[in-house]
């Protein structure tokens, strides 16, 4: 790739690559190179999507998945940031929980499904709980390292100018200085959340994941693809909105 490629030219090529991929896929099926039982025909997807939409199914499952997603995201992000920032600022708390965090960190969110069901039953809270776990760790580590790497000079400035209380330093130095890292963690969590949404719904909680399981048991691969694209689209939308907010919050950056 030449470094002098302009942005619009780059976008154009990316679009061409995507179109070529879909076209090859379509041709492979039509020419019989690929069996129709393996993957659906791309050109059939818009119509399948339309049927899902007018049946009201699409809106229903998307709405309930969005519910799990946003509750899990909110919970995981706020707890992750709180614990991460606290750990970076309070050495005693850091020491106290360090081994516990190391122990729990490698456990994948989906391994919590049994407990989620025992604790919450098969209901939206269970799905939100599972989603929140992955989101928690991403935000925890991002916030922790963001606060840890703040230039100690800023803290000295705050002290020299009478901002000595913990809360003043937190709001005037630590949080704004760590904001780029914390927002980066939030954005990564936004993607991580979608990855666990589908899995968290596989055991019977209504949502996109459950609809995909239903469809796949009927070998309706076209419906599965509709919801794959739905997730991609929702992620792109959320990521875009977040990026706009991030850019506004960090407009002080060079």
């Amino acid at each position: 790739m030449s470094p002098t490629m302009t942005r619009s030219r780059r976008s154009l090529m990316s679009a061409a690559g995507l179109v070529a991929f879909v076209l090859l896929w379509e041709l492979a099926l039509r020419s019989g190179l690929l069996s129709g039982s393996l993957v659906p025909l791309p050109s059939s997807i818009p119509q399948v999507f339309w049927y899902e939409l007018i049946d009201g199914i699409w809106l229903d499952v998307v709405r309930s998945s969005l519910g799990h997603y946003s509750v899990g995201l909110l919970l995981g992000s706020s707890l992750g940031i709180t614990v991460g920032v606290a750990a970076a600022l309070l050495p005693r708390f850091d020491a106290l929980h360090a081994w516990l965090a190391r122990l729990l960190r490698p456990i994948p969110p989906l391994a919590w499904i049994p407990f989620a069901i025992i604790w919450f039953g098969i209901n939206p809270s269970a799905a939100a709980f599972i989603i929140s776990i992955g989101v928690f760790w991403i935000n925890y580590f991002a916030s922790y390292s963001a606060v840890h790497s703040i230039d100690p000079g800023f803290d000295e400035v705050a002290q020299a100018f009478g901002q000595r209380r913990f809360l003043s330093r937190l709001t005037k130095v630590n949080l704004p200085a760590a904001a780029p890292g914390i927002l980066g963690g939030l954005r990564a969590g936004l993607g991580q959340g979608w990855m666990t949404v589908v899995a968290a719904e596989l055991f019977g909680i209504p949502g996109i994941g459950q609809r995909m399981m239903e469809a796949s048991s009927l070998l309706a691969t076209d419906i599965v693809v509709v919801y794959m694209l739905t997730i991609a689209g929702l992620y792109a939308l959320f990521d875009f909105l977040f990026m706009m907010m991030q850019r506004r919050l960090l407009r002080w950056q060079p």
Binding site: G153, V157, Q159, F161, G162, S168, K172, P176, A177, W252
Partner: protein, 269 residues
């Protein structure tokens, strides 16, 4: 000394409070400090009077910045005590500081950076704004008030740092090699600005520098820190008065000999 002259230049209402009989604005006695069993400073005394300018010089690494932080309480001294009588006036702080790097908060605009020390003093938002604009005007950057710090040059950022320190109307202004990281031309200009600024602020100044010429150029007194050999804690080796007019001081016949004398003392310690 210049103090009496500048007193004469200021309005009488302020001048009456500024006569040197008022007693020191900073009084440090027998300050000692160290890190991890290594003594850095031993037995430093300093009495600073209103509007006085004391430069602290010494070889690099001798403990000048440490002394400054011990005087402010940013570092706790092991022995001795520092007394900076708190200001009587509301909306002021006893001391403030200009750092070697400007250390502006990049997430705040120039004006709100200057407002930092005014927060928590019970001032309204409007009052804070006005109090920030005054020193910004003084350093010639009021037009840049709503800019982000990174859009300013190094010299401009350091001026904002000075405005931030002046905004709290300190009794004592600590300056930690404030011009050391600037280019020669900017440094000269800011030195001249600081000389002019002294006429317009009541603060006494403690100015740390490794630049002997700068110390003699700006100060009323030059305090020389040194140690017998490396590893030994630093002491005040000598304090010299600079009885030269601040106008074109560099061109006075007594300037160069004084610089050489300070250099000689530092060389011997």
């Amino acid at each position: 000394m210049t103090t009496s002259m500048t007193t004469f230049l200021t309005p009488p209402s302020v001048a009456t409070t500024r006569v040197n009989f008022a007693g020191p604005v900073l009084n440090a006695r027998n300050l000692s400090l160290g890190f991890d069993d290594t003594a850095v400073l031993a037995g430093v005394d300093l009495a600073l009077y209103p509007r006085e300018f004391v430069a602290v010089v010494g070889a690099s690494g001798v403990g000048k910045s440490t002394l400054l932080r011990a005087l402010t309480g940013l570092l706790a001294p092991q022995t001795g005590e520092v007394d900076i009588p708190a200001g009587q006036d509301a909306g002021t702080r006893a001391w403030s500081m200009v750092f070697q790097a400007p250390r502006l908060f990049p997430w705040r605009r120039v004006r709100t950076n200057v407002e930092l020390g005014l927060e928590g003093l019970g001032l309204s938002r409007v009052e804070r704004r006005e109090r920030a604009m005054q020193p910004l005007k003084l350093v010639g950057l009021d037009a840049y008030a709503e800019r982000w710090p990174h859009t300013l040059s190094g010299g401009q950022q350091q001026r904002v740092g000075i405005a931030r320190a002046l905004a709290v109307r300190p009794k004592v202004l600590f300056m930690d090699e404030p011009f050391a990281s600037l280019d020669a031309i900017t440094r000269r200009r800011l030195q001249q600005e600081l000389i002019a600024l002294r006429q317009r602020t009541e603060a006494a100044i403690v100015f740390v520098t490794h630049d002997i010429e700068e110390a003699v150029l700006l100060a009323d007194r030059v305090m020389i820190l040194g140690n017998q050999e490396t590893g030994q804690p630093a002491r005040v080796v000598e304090t010299l008065s600079v009885n030269l007019s601040l106008d074109e001081r560099r061109d006075l016949p007594d300037f160069a000999p004084l610089v050489q004398r300070v250099e000689a003392i530092i060389g011997n310690h």
